[in-house]
């Protein structure tokens, strides 16, 4: 996810989608497997229609995709888990680089050391 790629409407939808505990739970289940909408519905004390609505909100926010498989609708998150985890860590690094830059500014000019900057990634 690149900041520039997202329009304001998408940001609101994303925030709205992540702000609900049921939807976060659905997201976790979909990251771990590829459940059908009906299987998801069995996991919550709410109607099938209500779960379907949650799934629709997540889909609009671009967090999951639905694919038809026979009579079932399968729900999954975008990309495979390893790629997504890597992307999330990269985004976290971006967040922290911004934070350290702001810390340097607050400490005053000259507080930031000139020196070698290295970035190493480790993956398995």
């Amino acid at each position: 996810m690149v900041v520039d790629e997202l329009a304001d409407g998408t940001v609101d939808e994303l925030f709205h989608a992540l702000a609900d505990p049921t939807r976060r739970d659905i997201l976790r289940r979909c990251a771990a497997g590829e459940p059908s909408v009906s299987r998801l519905a069995q996991a919550y004390p709410m109607s099938f229609a209500a779960v379907q609505k949650h799934v629709a909100v997540l889909e609009r926010a671009g967090l999951i995709t639905k694919t038809r498989h026979g009579r079932e609708q399968l729900v999954r998150t975008d990309g495979d888990a390893v790629v997504r985890a890597r992307r999330a860590l990269d985004e976290l690094e971006t967040i922290w680089r911004g934070r350290v830059d702001r810390m340097s500014s607050l400490l005053g000019k000259g507080a930031a050391r000139q020196g070698k900057t290295s970035t190493k990634g480790r993956s398995g």
Binding site: L18, W96, L106, G110, R113, S123, G124
Partner: protein, 149 residues
């Protein structure tokens, strides 16, 4: 640049960042301990983290994002669990959390900051980073507002 290294460990879901500042350790510590300073760098520009309650003692809290401080030893170390609170400042129980450990040390007349961020699971990490990005995006949007008015 003040970032000396960033080490991302995909297997253990941790990110370790080392930054060196040409400032005394007490000044760097204040960036963490003084809520007025903290809110100027924690959130992205235009989206200052609103720090309403900030108490760097074990059990102390910073709300929305909320910190549950688990260990503190001024001015050299701080460990907290970064969590989320709702609009009424009540903790959101099932919201994923992550642990942040910060260590400051004096080094070559300046201060070295080592920050390690640890997540419980890849799913939790994804959700949290997305929330973090959303904060950033909202900040960018807020900065644009005056320009568009």
């Amino acid at each position: 640049m003040s970032i000396t290294s960033v080490d991302v460990d995909h297997d253990n879901l941790t990110m370790t960042l080392i930054a060196d500042f040409d400032a005394p350790i007490d000044q760097v510590w204040e960036l963490w301990s003084d809520p007025r300073k903290l809110e100027r760098w924690w959130g992205p520009p235009g989206y200052p983290a609103t720090v309403e309650k900030h108490d760097l003692t074990p059990g102390g809290e910073k709300l929305r994002g909320m910190w549950r401080v688990t260990a503190v030893d001024p001015p050299s170390s701080l460990e907290f669990i970064d969590a989320f609170a709702d609009s009424e400042w009540a903790p959101i129980a099932d919201m994923p959390t992550h642990t942040v450990r910060v260590e400051l040390s004096e080094r070559e007349g300046g201060t070295r900051m080592e920050m390690r961020s640890t997540f419980e699971s890849p799913e939790d990490m994804e959700i949290l980073v997305k929330m973090g990005m959303v904060e950033g995006l909202r900040g960018a949007a807020a900065q644009m507002d005056p320009l568009l008015a």
